[in-house]
C-alpha cells in the first residue's frame, strides 16, 4: 500500500519538476533537451499514475491521505498539502497523465 502512495505522490509532482526544469532552464539547455526532460518526466509520471491505479485496484483504494507539506497556518485556518488517494482521484490522475503524455509526444513534431 505504501508503494502505491509513493507512486501517486511521484505521479502528481513529476510534471511540476519537468515544467520547472524546462521552463526556467530552457534558455540555457535549448529546445531539444527541454523536450526530452518534459517528455521523460511525463513518461515516468504516467507510469507511476497507472501503477498507482493498478495498486489501488488490487489492494483497495482507501481513502488514504498522502501528506506532502504544511501550507497555510493563519489563526484558526489551517491547510496542508495533502494528496487524497481514492478511486476518483486515482482514476482521474491516470487518465489525465495518459492523455497528457500522448499530447506531449504528438507535440514533438510541431
Amino acid at each position: 500500500m505504501q508503494t502505491d502512495l509513493h507512486l501517486f505522490a511521484a505521479a502528481v509532482t513529476l510534471p511540476l519538476a519537468g515544467a520547472v526544469v524546462a521552463g526556467l532552464g530552457g534558455r540555457l539547455m535549448g529546445d531539444t533537451l527541454a523536450k526530452v526532460v518534459t517528455l521523460a518526466c511525463m513518461s515516468v509520471a504516467a507510469l507511476c499514475g497507472v501503477g498507482a491505479l493498478y495498486g489501488g485496484w488490487t489492494t483497495g483504494f482507501g481513502p488514504f491521505s498522502v501528506p506532502l507539506a504544511d501550507w497555510i497556518n493563519a489563526g484558526g485556518f489551517h491547510a496542508t498539502w495533502t494528496l487524497r488517494f481514492d478511486t476518483l482521484s486515482v482514476t482521474m490522475t491516470a487518465m489525465v497523465l495518459c492523455v497528457s503524455l500522448l499530447v506531449h509526444c504528438y507535440t514533438l513534431a510541431i
Partner: protein, 531 residues
C-alpha cells in the same frame, strides 16, 4: 519562437490539473483550479504575436475569473458553515448542518442549496456551460495540442470532477440539481446546433466538447455521478483523438482550418481517416465504441429519474445524439470525401510523422475499448465496490440501480437516431452536395442564428464589454488624466503663474520704491491722525 516554453507550459498545465484532482481540501483544489486557468491563459496565447490569440487568452481568463468569484464565495460559505475546508470533515457534517437556513434578499434558503449553487456556477465557467461558454470556441486560437489537452482530458472536465467530488453535498441540494440538469441539457442541445454549421474544423469539435459536457452535467443533476465520470473518461480518449486527428489534417494542409476548403483527403491520409472514423463512431455512441456505453448510461439515467426536468433533458439529449452524429460525419465527409477544393493542396498532403501517428493509434485503441472495458466497474454491477464511497449516492437515490431497467425501445433510441444522423449527413454531403446550401438559403434567419452562435458574443459585447469599455474610458480620460494627473499639474501651473506675476512687482527702480514708501507713509499717517 522557443519551443521549450510550450513544453514547460504543457507540463505545468498537467501538474495544475493533477493538483486539482488529487487535493484533499477545497483550498488545494482552488490552487489547482487557478493553476489550470493560468496555464490555459499561457497556452491559448502561446502565439503572442497574433492579436486574435491574445484576445482569446484574455477572454478565457476573464470568463473563468467571473465563475471563480462564485466558487470562492462558495468555499467561503463552506468555511463559515463547516469551520473546515477538508473534504472528510465537510462530508461527515453534511447531514447535521445541511438544513441550516441562509437569508438572501430577505428570502430564507437552505445553506446546502446556496453552497451547491455557487460551486456549480464555478464549475459552469470551467466546463464552458451555457452563459459562460463563450471562451471555449475562441480558445481554438491556440495550437492544436493545446486544444486536445484543454478540451478533452483536463480543464473542461474540472467542473464535472468538482460536482462528482462534492456529491455528498449535492445530494443534499435537490433544487440546485434541477438547475444543473436544466443548464446541462440546454448546453448539450445549444452547442450541438451551433457545431452543426461551423466551417472551422476545430471549432466544430470544440462545440462538440461543450455539448458532451452538457450530457455529463445532466447526469450529475439526476444523481448519476458515476455515469458522468464514466462519460468524462471515455470522452477524454475519443475527443483527444478527434482533436489530434484534426491537427494532423491541419498539419498536412499547411494550417488550413476551413472544412469547405478541404475534401478528398482520405487516400492521402489513410491513418488519420481511419482514426477520425473511430473517434466519430465513439462520439456518436455507436455500439461497441466507447461513447455508446457512457452516453447510453446517461440517457437511460435521465429517463429513469422520472421527473419533469429529467424528461426535458432526455428529449434534448436524444435530439442531440442525432445532431452529434450529423456534425461528426459532416466533418468526415467534408474533409475526406468529395471533390477537393484545392487539388494541389490535396496532392501535396502527406501523413504525419511517427511521433504524431503513435498517439493517434493509442487513443484510437482507447476510444474503442475504454467503454466496454470500464463499464462494469464505473457504472455496472461492480460500481459500488469500485468507487468505494468516493462518490456518494444518498440512500433514497437509487438511480444507479434503476437506470439499467429502462424499456428496451427507450434504450435503443439514441443508437437509432445516431445512425439516422449519419445517414442524413451522407445524404447532405455525399449524395446531394447541393442540398446544404439550398437549405441554408431557404432557412436564412435560422442558419445565420446558428452560424452566429445564437448571438451570445454580440449580446455580451453589448451588455458587458462595451459599457465596461465606456466606463473605463471615462475613468481614464476624466478620472485619471483629468483629476489624478490634472490636479497636481494645475496646482503647479497656478504656483508658477503666481510667482511670475509676483516677480513683476520688483522693478529695481529706487525712485519707485521711494514713492511707494512715501505713499505708504501718507496712508499710515492719515489713518493714525484722522481715524
Amino acid at each position: 519562437m522557443p519551443v521549450y516554453r510550450f513544453f514547460a507550459y504543457l507540463s505545468l498545465f498537467t501538474f495544475a490539473m493533477l493538483m486539482l484532482v488529487s487535493s484533499s481540501d477545497l483550498i488545494q483544489l482552488f490552487f489547482g483550479w487557478e493553476g489550470v486557468g493560468l496555464a490555459s491563459y499561457l497556452l491559448i496565447g502561446y502565439w503572442y504575436d497574433r492579436p486574435s490569440a491574445t484576445a482569446a487568452a484574455i477572454k478565457a481568463f476573464v470568463v473563468n475569473r467571473v465563475a471563480d468569484l462564485f466558487f470562492l464565495v462558495g468555499i467561503g460559505l463552506i468555511y463559515v458553515l463547516f469551520h473546515s475546508v477538508r473534504y472528510e470533515e465537510i462530508f461527515a457534517a453534511v447531514p447535521q448542518v445541511a438544513g441550516a437556513p441562509y437569508t438572501l434578499f430577505g428570502q430564507p434558503f437552505r445553506m446546502a442549496e446556496v453552497i451547491s449553487f455557487l460551486l456549480f456556477v464555478g464549475a459552469m465557467g470551467k466546463s464552458a456551460q451555457l452563459f459562460l461558454h463563450t471562451w471555449l470556441p475562441d480558445a481554438m486560437e491556440g495550437p492544436t495540442p493545446v486544444s486536445a489537452l484543454i478540451h478533452a482530458a483536463t480543464m473542461v472536465t474540472a467542473g464535472v470532477f468538482l460536482m462528482a467530488r462534492m456529491s455528498p453535498l449535492l445530494e443534499a441540494a435537490p433544487n440546485t440539481r434541477l438547475f444543473v440538469i436544466f443548464i446541462g441539457a440546454t448546453t448539450c442541445f445549444f452547442a450541438a446546433t451551433v457545431g452543426m454549421v461551423q466551417p472551422d474544423i476545430k471549432r466544430s469539435i470544440a462545440y462538440s466538447t461543450c455539448s458532451q459536457l452538457g450530457y455529463m452535467f445532466a447526469a450529475v443533476g439526476v444523481g448519476a455521478y458515476q455515469a458522468s465520470v464514466f462519460h468524462l473518461t471515455t470522452h477524454a480518449f475519443f475527443k483527444a483523438l478527434l482533436f489530434l486527428g484534426a491537427g494532423s489534417v491541419i498539419h498536412a494542409l499547411h494550417d488550413e482550418q476551413n472544412m469547405f476548403r478541404m475534401g478528398g483527403l482520405w487516400k492521402k491520409l489513410p491513418l488519420t481517416y481511419a482514426v477520425m472514423w473511430i473517434g466519430s463512431l465513439a462520439l456518436a455512441g455507436v455500439f461497441p465504441f466507447a461513447g455508446y456505453w457512457s452516453k447510453d448510461a446517461i440517457l437511460n439515467a435521465l429517463w429513469a429519474a422520472d421527473s419533469g426536468m429529467s424528461h426535458y433533458a432526455w428529449v434534448l439529449g436524444v435530439i442531440t445524439a442525432f445532431l452529434t452524429a450529423f456534425y461528426s460525419w459532416r466533418l468526415i465527409f467534408l474533409v475526406f470525401h468529395g471533390a477537393p477544393a484545392d487539388a494541389h493542396a490535396r496532392d501535396a498532403a502527406h501523413e504525419s510523422p511517427l511521433s504524431m501517428a503513435l498517439p493517434l493509434v493509442v487513443l484510437a485503441i482507447g476510444a474503442v475499448v475504454s467503454g466496454i472495458a470500464l463499464a462494469p466497474y464505473y457504472i455496472g454491477a461492480q460500481q459500488a465496490a469500485f468507487w468505494q464511497g468516493s462518490i456518494f449516492n444518498a440512500p433514497d437515490n437509487s438511480i444507479m440501480e434503476t437506470f439499467e431497467h429502462v424499456p428496451g425501445l427507450i434504450a435503443l433510441l439514441p443508437s437509432v437516431v445516431g445512425l439516422l444522423g449519419i445517414a442524413v449527413a451522407y445524404l447532405f454531403y455525399v449524395a446531394r452536395p447541393d442540398m446544404p446550401a439550398a437549405l441554408a438559403r431557404s432557412c436564412g434567419p435560422l442558419y445565420r442564428f446558428l452560424l452566429n452562435k445564437w448571438y451570445f458574443d454580440e449580446l455580451y459585447d453589448r451588455i458587458f464589454v462595451r459599457p465596461y469599455g465606456a466606463i473605463a474610458r471615462i475613468l481614464w480620460k476624466d478620472g485619471e488624466e483629468g483629476a489624478v494627473e490634472g490636479l497636481p499639474r494645475d496646482l503647479v501651473q497656478a504656483a508658477a503663474n503666481g510667482a511670475s506675476d509676483a516677480v513683476r512687482l520688483q522693478t529695481g527702480s529706487i525712485a519707485l520704491y521711494a514713492f511707494t514708501m512715501l505713499a505708504g507713509l501718507v496712508v499710515v499717517l492719515t489713518v493714525a491722525l484722522c481715524g
